[in-house]
Each structure stands twice: as C-alpha cells, then as structure tokens.
C-alpha cells in the first residue's frame, strides 16, 4: 500500500474517532436520519453533525485525497417526491420562469409517476457553484451514499473539469441569471400582458434547439450596446443624408424570392446558426423587452448545450466514481457492511443494465450509464491489464501506471462523440455485441454493415461516434439571407446530411413561430416572409417551406424563375 493511500484512510479513521459510534457509524445507522453524536471534546472542531454531512465528508476524503477529483463545493438538499417532480419540470433548475409547458411536463410526469410507469431519479444535480444535489427523502442510507458519490463528486467534478462546461457555462452566475430572467419575465407579463409574453416564449421554445452558438464566439454585444450603435449609425445617416448617393451605394434590390434553382450563394450567406440570437439582434419589429427575453432564453439554452453533448461521458463518469468510491468504502475502508454492499450492487446493476435491441425495454439508444461506465472501466483495465489487442488500439495508454490521470484526461478533453471515437475499445464493442444497421431509403432492405469483429471495429466506432454527434442528430439550419433592403424576408438554409429530410409538419409550425418573431405578428406590417430551403450535397434546393406560404404562381423549386 502506498504512502498516499494510508494517508486518506487515516484521515477517515481520525474523523470517525470523533464520534460516539466511531467506525461502526455507517453500519449502525438505520437510515440517513440516524443521529450522530460527537464525543465529548470534539464538539468544537466544526465536524459534520448530521449523518449525511458525515457520509459526504468521508466520500469527499476518498474522492479528493485518494483520487484527486477536483470539485465545486457541494450543497445537498433533501427533498420529497413532489419536489423532485417540480425539479424535473423546471428542467432541473431551482429557478425557472413561468410557462405553461413546464406545467404540462409536470402533469405528464406526475401522471406517469402516480400510475407507476416511471420511477423518479434518485438525484438531480445542478451545474452551479456550489453544485446543488437534490436527494430524495425516500432513499435508503446506502442509496444516499451512492447518490452523494454519484452526483456531488462524479457529476460535480465533470462540471468543473470538462472543457465544454468550462467554455460554455458559467456555474458561478447561472442561478443569478435565471433569477433575473424569471423576474424580468414576470415584470414583462405585468406590463405587456401574460398572453403577449407567452406567445414570445412559445416561439423561443420552438427554436431553442437552434438557439445556441455551437462554437465559442467573441462576446456578443449587449442590447444596450446594439441600440447605441444603431443610434450612432442613424445619427450619422441623418447628418449626411444624401438620397442620391444612398441610391448608388445601396441600389434597391428586387425582392429575392429565394427560389433560384441552384444555390450558389456560399460566399454571401450569413452562416448564422444561432437563430434565437439572430432574431434578438436583427428581427425588424421586436420591441426592446422582447429582444431581451429572446436573448436571455438563448443564453439559458447555451447553458444546457454542453449537457446535450456529454450525456454518455457525464453519466458514465459519475457511475464509474460511485462504483469506485462505494467499492473503497466496503473493501478498503470497511465502513459499510455486506447488507449495504448487496443493496448497492443491486441498484448499481440495474442502473447499468443495457437492454438488447430486440428487448421491449430497448429505448432506441444506448443506456448512457451502461456504455459510459463500461468505457471508463475498460480504460482503467487497459492501463492496468493491457492485452495485445489493447496495445495495438491504444498504444499511448496501454499499461500506463497512472490510470487516474488517463481517465481525468478522457473526462476533461472530450465530449460524447470524440470520447467514443477515441476510447471505444474492441472489448467493449464485443461485450455489448454491437452491430451497425444501414438504412437507405433508396433500397428495399436494410443492411447489417458491420458487427463486433476485427473487420468491423473501426467502422463501428466511427458510426457510433457519428451517432453521438449533435451535428448529425439535429438538422443543420442557418440563416442564409436577410433581405433587409427589400421585403425584409429572411431565408434559412437547411444543409441536408445523408439526404435526411426535415420533419415537415413540425417544421412548418416552427416556421410560424419564427415568422411571428420576425414579423411581430405580421398583421400590421404586412409580414416578412420566412423561407426555408433544404439543400442537398450538390447545393440544389430539394424542398422549400415558407411562412406565409408562397403565392401559387411562384415557380416551383427546380425551375428557373
């Protein structure tokens, strides 16, 4: 045993020796409400005075001292099932603005829960500083330990370490931002009416998946700054008013119907993928407060953007650590007994169950807990017991004595897609018996294009990584043109990938919302059309949608006007 290891054990024992029940404290407790008694003389040391606080401290010592996990401070809140449902409803954030869709989610989930169709999560953890973990009151003592290890140390260290979270989110300020958003929306409701605000938020929600910056960008100008610039520009224009010159510099262009057969405008597309921000900054008729809300909702979405890309890695990481830490508690430190160990093993196994593709429980996707856990565990194995195969696939890390740092690197610098691409090992592929189905609508049958064998490993890995690529999962839609000088219509381009079309009925509805934001209702202004072109690999327009619909005599795509 290394010097360091002795160290963390000694720390735990020293800590527990301050309590009446000493090292048996965890075994003796019936549940997490068990009262812990400090020995006389130890009262003033500032030690945890609740069972949960003590469990957390012991887990912290293992996580920090033995493995060197770096975490935000923790805050653990015990809540009821009802409150858990509330937390679900507000997308897991402790503060969320009022909107009917959250009420709908609550009704749906509450219903499913009451009927027994759905269990609740044992915990929800929030990427804030300090990280807030919600633990259900129903959890047994073992479950609370698992949950603390999982959420307060697993997820928490991921939030603090992963590069996406570091780049895109601001754990220190998110709660404040959300509170401001909430009060701002409430104020707006009071001033402009609930209906008006609700319509605006409906529209934002429809576009929210495309309301994020997918790449870090220079800081955006605030609304006030934008206004200032606009005013300065206006003033300049007024002072130098020269209609003649103006006409020469900006000749009035005919309305762009946007229906040219072949799309060649690569050079002059706006290439703006954050639709919400684009609207907030450029929509011709939005009032200041509306722009503000749109921008802020985009900001909240941005905050969730890393989460959408790190489900596998994040859950896998947390699962790996709760497994490791609880293992230490049983085998290494001996603080929990066989009963607790069995209970832990039982729930751990059900968490990492992976139904097969033909099972009725198969959801259509991999269970992120299962695959993530398997991958991190295998990484550790590759470091400790590498086979020849591992040496071939992972020459850099096979046999690396410091497995913790290999895992840390994998946690910090990857997202789901790249993590799979980089670390999915042949052994995991074999264990999961993976195979690829290629479904081409041009053919009558579907094809098994690769399976878990020597020939298939690389293809499997590539295809699974692609499956986790958010860019493939979500249609790529960008703002192409804004005809600011003519009819103020806006043209969106959907760049098709593998000929996959948009879900049209939904898209039509989304366009209505876009139109509403863009035209401010449309009635007063006559409306500015929103057009969406789907473009294939050859830059041809395959399909067009518009809101309001194009007049009948407009030439169909594929015909030159």
């Amino acid at each position: 045993m290394s010097e360091e290891k002795k160290d963390y054990k000694q720390q735990i024992f020293d800590l527990l020796d301050n309590y009446e029940d000493g090292r048996n404290l965890f075994k003796k407790a019936e549940d997490w409400t068990y009262p812990v008694l400090l020995k006389p003389g130890a009262e003033d040391k500032g030690l945890p005075e609740s069972w949960l606080g003590l469990a957390d401290e012991v887990i912290r010592i293992i996580a920090h001292e033995k493995y060197g996990l770096d975490t935000y401070r923790n805050k653990i809140e015990i809540i009821t099932a009802d409150q858990m449902l509330d937390a679900y409803t507000s997308v897991g954030m402790p503060v969320s603005y009022n909107h009917w869709s959250f009420g709908k989610a609550r009704a749906l989930q509450g219903d499913a829960y009451k009927k027994g169709q759905m269990g609740l999560a044992y915990e929800i953890v929030i990427n804030t500083n300090p990280a807030i973990a919600y633990c259900m009151e129903e959890n047994t003592k073992t479950m609370q330990m698992l949950v603390i290890a999982h959420a307060s140390y697993g997820h928490n260290s991921f939030f603090k370490g992963n590069h996406l979270f570091r780049q895109f989110t601001d754990a220190d300020h998110i709660l404040e931002d959300l509170k401001t958003l909430k009060t701002h929306i409430e104020e707006c409701e009071e001033r402009y009416g609930v209906e008006e605000v609700e319509k605006l938020i409906d529209a934002c929600h429809a576009l929210k998946s495309h309301g994020v910056d997918r790449r870090p960008k220079p800081p955006r100008r605030s609304a006030a700054e934008m206004r200032q610039r606009q005013e300065a520009a206006d003033e300049f224009k007024q002072r130098n008013l020269d209609p003649l010159l103006d006409n020469i510099i900006y000749p009035p262009r005919p309305a762009d119907s946007g229906l040219s057969n072949s799309f060649n405008g690569v050079g002059d597309t706006l290439d703006e993928e954050n639709l919400l921000m684009y609207i907030a900054e450029n929509a011709p008729h939005l009032a200041g407060w509306q722009r503000d809300i749109v921008a802020r909702i985009s900001h909240v979405e941005q905050y969730f953007y890393p989460q959408r890309q790190t489900q596998l890695t994040n859950e896998g990481w947390a699962t790996f650590w709760h497994h490791t830490i609880l293992n230490d508690l049983y085998h290494d430190v001996g603080l929990i007994d066989e009963g607790m160990w069995m209970e832990f093993t039982h729930s751990h196994t059900s968490v990492i169950a992976q139904p097969n593709f033909d099972s009725p429980y198969f959801s259509g996707n991999y269970n992120p807990y299962a695959l993530g856990f398997a991958m991190y565990t295998d990484l550790k194995r590759i470091c400790q017991n590498p086979t020849d195969e591992d040496r071939e696939y992972f020459p850099d890390i096979a046999g690396n004595p410091d497995w913790v740092s290999v895992l840390m690197d994998a946690m910090k610098n990857y997202k789901d897609e790249s993590f799979v691409q980089q670390f999915l090992s042949p052994k995991v592929m074999r264990d999961f018996r993976m195979f690829v189905i290629k479904d081409d609508d041009k053919e009558d049958t579907i094809e098994v294009s690769a399976i878990h064998n020597e020939d298939g490993f690389r293809q499997l890995r590539r295809d699974l990584a692609a499956q986790y690529n958010l860019g493939n999962r979500e249609p790529r839609i960008e703002v192409g043109h804004y005809n600011a000088r003519s009819d103020r219509s806006v043209i969106l381009y959907h760049t098709m990938h593998n000929r996959r079309p948009l879900e049209e009925r939904n898209m039509q509805e989304v366009l209505k919302h876009f139109y509403q934001l863009w035209s401010g209702g449309g009635d007063k202004t006559g409306g500015h059309r929103v057009i969406l072109h789907s473009i294939d690999e050859n830059r041809n327009i395959v399909k067009s949608l518009a809101c309001p619909a194009m007049p009948k005599d407009t030439p169909k795509p594929g015909m030159r006007p």
Partner: protein, 483 residues
C-alpha cells in the same frame, strides 16, 4: 464543507403558476370534458373525483426542429446474436427501419390522447370563475339530525374499547410513586447508614464510598438498587472485619428495611378501579349551511329530448354551483304536465310520462314540499324552473304569478326561470318578466335556444354584481392593456 439542507418543508410554489397557465391554455378542452361529464352522469355525481381532460396529442406537442423519415441513416445497436456483416434484412414495419425508431414516437403519430386530470376544486374554479352567489345571507342553521363524535377528555368509566392505556399507566405511576416515596426515603436513609458502617472498614476505597450526591434526577428506586449492589459488594469485602455491635446494627437495619418493603408492597401496583381511564366522547351537533334546490321541469308533450337535456345541463350547473357555497345541498325534483309530482332524479329525466301543461301545479307542489320539509329559517332555498313556456291559458299564468309573488319569493334566496324554446317568447315569459321588476335581487329569467346558450344564461344569472361573494378562488388575472 458541504452544506446539507432539509428542503422538504420548502413550499412547492415554483411549479404552480406554470401549472395554472397550462390549464388556462386548455380551458376549452377542460370545458369540453366537463360538458361531457355533465352529459354522462347524474347530477349529484358530477365532478366528484375531478375530471380527466383528454387533449389531442397533436394539440399539446410543442413544435421542434427535427429530422423526418428518409435519407440514409446508420445506427449502432447492442445485442447482436446472429447477424454477420453484409446481411440484408427486411425493413421493420412501423418505424421506417431501425433508423427511425427514435423519431417515430416524437412526431406523435399513432399515440393516444394526452390525458391530464384536474381535481374537483380546480374544475369548479374554472367553471365558476368570476361568478358569485346572490344574496349570500347564508343561514347557518344547526342541523339537529347530524352530530359527530368529538373527543372530550378522559373519564374513569367507559367501555373496554375506549381504554386509554398510556394515560392509565401514567395515572398509575402518579399514584404509586408518591405513595411509595416515604418508605423509599426511609429505606435509603437506612441503607446509607449501613453503607457507612461497612465502608468504615473499607480503607482502600474511601473516595469511591462517598455518598451519592443528592441528585434529583435519579429515581429513588434506582438509588436503592445502586446502594444494595454497593452494600453487597462491601459486605463480601469487609464482612469478616465487622464488630459484633456493628453486625447487630446491620441486621437491625435490614429487618427494618424488610418491614418497610412489606409496607410498600401493600400499595397495589395496579388498581383497575382507580388507575384505569377511558377516552370520553361527546356527541356534538354539526353546524352546516344547508341549501335546497328545487328543480321544476315541464314534461309536457312539447318538451322534446333535446330541451330536456338542456334543462338537465342547467340544473347540473346550478347544483354544482350551490355545492360550492353550502355544506349540504338537497335537491328536490318536481316534474309537471297537467299535474305535478315530486320524483327521483331518474324518473325526473327519463320517465316518458307526458301530457299537457299547467305550470301552477308545479309551483303548488313546491310550496307544499317547502312547507313540509324545508322551513325557510333553516334552509337556503333556491328554485330553478325550466319550461318551454307553453302554459295552458292566461289564467294559469296569472295564478303562477300570484303563487310566486305571495308564497315563493318571500322565502327563497333566488329563483331562476329558463325558457327553453326556439322562437318568440311564450306567455309565461311575459308574466315572469313582469315579476322580475318586483324582485330584482332574486328573480332571474333567461332564454335557452341552443345548447350553447346555457352557459351564457347561467353566467348572466350569477355574474358578479356588487356585494356578491366571489365564487372563484382564482384571482382575476391581470388584464393586458391596462396601464
């Protein structure tokens, strides 16, 4: 250090506004569900357990940007058993191939309606939002029939099933401990004397032999026990060293103690006649506010099924509305053609018996029931009459007016007349219109031509006027456009 917070007591306020907004959004669906519930069930059952509101899935889905079926997809699945690379399979039905599995459910095809449940209170809130009850001088009479049992202290007699054992045990201790304590105190004194005699010889442990401090928190019996063990130990240790005098004194002490113990044991440990206590209950009359609602309906030949249905709907609404304001609501059904009869609900709506029309008979029946069973000083009386207005002759109309004016209106809190007919108002209508002027505060008339008229008429009756009690628990939402 990590902060642990017990947040269970925190109010669950966060979700509630969203919850209400969600319901507001589906108001029409909620109303439709309620309409349906009204049609299906008995007057008294409606809304008992709240209402399930089905909303078409399509109407509730929030639009989002997503892929549709088609194109080329590749997906990696777990659990291969028999496939080899290059195998070709038939495309599974329904999901557009393996690739579509995830998306098929998202666009909502083939899914059931989304059903959410609103509780009885919520549903009534919606229905009677902004409506008030006129003349809310509730008569909070005591209903002598109804009583309930209420705990009223402890008694020393009672039946076995009401024995209060914890209290009896406490009672027993309260008796036993004080009566034993004089003996116990004497015993302790004696024991301490004995101990001091013994410990005088126990040179080695003088310090430990110090008498126990007068610690009030140690019960006497415990102290006796402690002393006894100490003495036993000392005896064993220093027994042979005792002088004769001392041995004699000790045995005298022990004898005395034995005497005291005997006296003590004469105190009964458990004396059922004194110790046993019973919970006492008393019957308390329940104070309720009661209302009776008279449903008067014309079943003459001219009232067809549709008209009856409209009448039923109206009665249901009234009943629900009254139920919100009174603890107890009785319903009296009176149907009439040329004669009137009090009937049960089923007969009221479904009996095919029919005939001509003499409205006054129904009013007379109502008056007699009122006089027999519902004295107006105890009951809040409401009358609701539905008719197609086709009465038999001017004479009877005049009689109706007279009955109402002289016998009914002075006693009732409200009288609602709905004329369910198409076309021009009938004779009865004009008669009642005249009456309306005399009883502005509690006589209302309304006309229902179509089913859709029922609600507006009902609302008109109960539209909040000055001095009305608000029926809705919801605050009127902030109206857009105000400053």
């Amino acid at each position: 250090m990590t902060v642990v917070i017990d947040a269970r007591q925190r109010p669950k306020g966060e979700g509630s506004v969203s919850h209400r907004r969600f319901h507001d959004r589906y108001k029409t669906d909620i109303k439709r569900a309620i309409d349906k519930a009204i049609g299906d069930r008995n007057i008294t059952d409606i809304g008992k357990d709240g209402v399930d509101v089905p909303v078409p899935r399509r109407g509730i889905d929030e639009p989002h940007i997503g892929h549709g079926q088609g194109g080329l997809t590749k997906r990696v699945f777990p659990g291969n058993k028999t496939f080899s690379a290059g195998d070709r399979l038939k495309r599974p039905q329904g999901g557009g191939g393996g690739g579509g599995g995830g998306q098929a459910s998202q666009d909502g095809e083939g899914q059931d309606d989304f059903v959410f449940h609103i509780s009885r209170d919520e549903f009534l809130d919606y229905y009677f939002e902004d409506l008030g009850l006129p003349n809310m001088t509730k008569k909070g009479a005591v209903d002598s029939e109804k009583t309930r049992l209420q705990r009223s202290g402890i008694s020393s007699s009672g039946t076995d099933d009401r024995r209060n054992l914890p209290f009896s045990a406490r009672k027993r201790l309260m008796r036993k401990i004080p009566s034993e304590s004089p003996y116990n105190k004497d015993i302790i004194d004696l024991l301490q004397e004995e101990k001091s005699i013994l410990s005088a010889h126990d040179t080695g442990a003088a310090a430990s032999a110090a008498p126990v401090a007068d610690d009030e928190f140690i019960p006497l019996s415990v102290r006796i026990e402690d002393l006894n063990t100490e003495i036993a130990a000392l005896k064993e240790k220093v027994g042979p060293l005792l002088s004769q005098d001392e041995t004699a004194r000790i045995s005298a002490i022990e004898e005395e103690i034995e005497g005291l113990e005997r006296m003590k044991s004469a105190i009964p440990g458990w004396d059922p006649s004194v110790d046993l206590k019973f919970n006492n209950f008393a019957r308390v009359p329940i104070k309720t506010s009661k209302a009776v609602m008279f449903c008067l309906m014309d079943v003459s030949g001219s009232m067809d099924e549709e008209k009856k249905y409209n009448a039923k709907t109206f009665f249901v609404l009234l009943h629900l509305f009254l139920k919100r304001h009174y603890d107890k609501v009785d319903v009296v059904f009176i149907r009439h053609h040329t004669t009137a009869k009090e009937v049960d609900e089923d007969t009221f709506f479904n009996d095919p018996e029919t005939g001509g029309t003499v409205v006054s008979t129904a009013l007379q029946e109502m008056i007699s029931v009122m006089n027999q069973r519902y004295p107006e000083n105890e009951w809040n009386i409401y009358g609701a009459q539905a008719s197609d207005g086709d009465n038999w002759g001017e004479q009877d109309n005049a009689l109706c007016a007279q009955l109402l004016r002289e016998q009914i209106m002075p006693k009732v809190q409200g009288y609602f007349y709905t004329e369910i007919t198409r076309g021009a108002p009938q004779g009865l209508w004009h008669t009642y219109e005249n009456l309306k002027g005399q009883f502005k505060d509690r006589f209302w008339t309304g006309r229902i031509e179509e089913k859709s008229d029922i609600w507006p008429v009902f609302r008109e009756f109960f539209k909040k006027r000055e001095n009305f009690e608000t029926s809705s628990k919801l605050k009127a939402s902030w109206a857009p456009g105000s400053p």
